[in-house]
Amino acid sequence: MRRFKEFLIEKIILLNGFACILFVILIFFFLAKDGLTLFKTVSPWHFLFGTLWNPLAEPPQVGILPLFLGSLIVTLGATVISVPLGMACAIFIGEIAPRWIRELLKAGVELLAAIPSIVIGFIGMTMLGPIVKNLFHLPTGLTALTGSLALAFMAIPTIVSIMEDAISSVPRSYKEGSLALGATHWQTIHRVIIPAASSGIVAAVMLGIGRVIGETMAVMMLTGNASVLPKTILEPVRTMTATIAAEMGETVRGSEHYFALFALGLVLFVITFFINLAADAALHQKQK
């Protein structure tokens, strides 16, 4: 009887272990089920490279290129801002700062990570938007740049915590060897520690980018939501995530628009899937 109970429990636990794989498959399946239905009426070419997103027109235009480029420009902007800042902060925390500053910075970064994205969006709308508007003399403060700035700060906690892990897991002997040879602390950091931590740093950047691409609420509130091909970073754009969040509530179930939004979700899922796979591979390489 006890044997049987033990066996049963083991099987239940095994099932739970596999639940994660099941969920990933389910997510893919439910996105694909409705998303791929779109291609019965619209060619994949027109969907991926069409330059018009106007699903309420007759016939509906569902080219996602403007949305893709919107996501791309916001993500690039956020990456350019967050990677150097995050890396500097991680090095400062891991190598330079005295203990009390280190604890303070770490607490601050954790605080930043815990602010819900909707609150960042709200504060960004009321505070950051007007600043951007006045600074560049724009008709509106809700632009790709505004979104990039806010998203950069949302990606920084991810980047800092993973990079700091990578930096602190570099063996002490590397650092001591370099210092013993007469190198300064800074020379040791940028010639020895950073190269040794490079795979972790790459993973941190990838996961930061993944976070930014997938961010929805803040970006929807801050980028102005104009689904046109973006020319500069000072114009309103619309990202893929914001499009789904803004339009899904108003679409008719089973319409071309509805299927197009699921197809858009599928595109997002595939993009983040590969980014995470690459980041995981980079982290795993480090462990060997």
Binding site: N16, C20, F30, L105, A114, T184
Partner: protein, 283 residues
């Protein structure tokens, strides 16, 4: 111009210090603004009254309760699932291809955009399983979203229980499951709790996953059952700041402060539990 390596080091360290300041200042600014502008709005009535006049007056009681319902539902689903999955990975799994697949799946679940969870939750729970736009559908969606957080921290907590504890128990003739149940789990519990609280605080703040699965635009009553829609704090803030014209900033900031306050209370509890374990560890 050529600098000595000492000067270079000074310049580099100064730049790193400035960059760290740039990271931290906005956090302080955000909190100052929230408290300064939000605190005057908060009083007993704001927290316990129904919204009135198209949400331009009154309180945010149903939104607070809605978030509490959602969060409770999320724990009920995610905690057992996550802890059992972690037990499998730490105590039972062998190092093979399947285990590696599970780990990759966890990493990918953690990276799926929140709005995609919303789409998935709508496709599976709301439509396919016919739950409708309801608390169950929302809680299930949020539970899958925070599963990676719970599994990862539960794994760490289980791994930090020394091997000798398990060996001692097994040597006494206790079965594997009983060892896990009576020796490993009690010792890992505080760590598991910390991770769970962090996961919950994430679920409490998310908006995109509940957009199409549970959130009600305006529902000035409490939900009747778990198959009812409900309001939720993050979505309420979204509605107040973008969908309803002429809402006074006081109410908006007040709502934002209550949401942030709730999330931080949870984080604070997690931090306290964590430091409590560290100080009480006997091994």
């Amino acid at each position: 111009m050529k600098f000595s390596s000492q000067t270079k080091q000074k310049i580099a360290f100064m730049l790193l210090g400035i960059a760290s300041t740039i990271v931290i200042v906005p956090v302080i600014v955000i909190f100052t603004i929230l408290i300064q502008k939000g605190l005057p709005a908060i009083n007993w009535q704001f927290l316990t009254a129904m919204p009135r006049m198209g949400m331009r007056a009154g309180g945010i009681f149903p939104a607070i309760m809605g978030t509490l319902y959602l969060v409770s539902g999320t724990i009920v689903v995610a905690l057992p699932l996550g802890v059992l999955a972690a037990i499998y990975l730490v105590e039972y799994a062998r190092r093979n291809f399947l285990t590696r697949m599970i780990e990759v799946a966890i990493v990918n679940l953690a990276g799926v955009p929140s709005v995609v969870y919303g789409l998935f939750g709508m496709g599976l729970f709301v439509i396919y399983l016919k739950m409708g736009v309801s608390i169950v559908a929302g809680a299930l969606t949020l539970a899958i979203m925070i599963l990676p957080v719970i599994i990862t921290s539960a794994k760490e907590a289980l791994q930090s229980v020394p091997r000798s504890f398990r060996e001692a128990s097994l040597a006494l003739g206790v079965s594997k499951w009983q060892t896990i149940r009576y020796v490993v789990l009690p010792n890992a519990l505080p760590g598991i709790l910390t991770g769970t609280i962090l996961g919950i605080s994430r679920a409490a703040g998310e908006t995109a996953p509940i957009l199409f699965t549970v959130a009600a635009f305006y529902l000035p009553r409490l939900p009747k059952s778990i198959f009812d829609q409900c309001m939720a704090l993050p979505y309420h803030l979204y509605v107040l700041s973008t969908q309803v014209p002429n809402v006074s900033p006081k109410i908006q900031y007040g709502t934002a402060l209550v949401l942030v306050g709730m999330v931080f209370l949870l984080n604070l509890v997690a931090v306290i539990v964590r430091s409590h374990i560290r100080s009480r560890k006997q091994w």
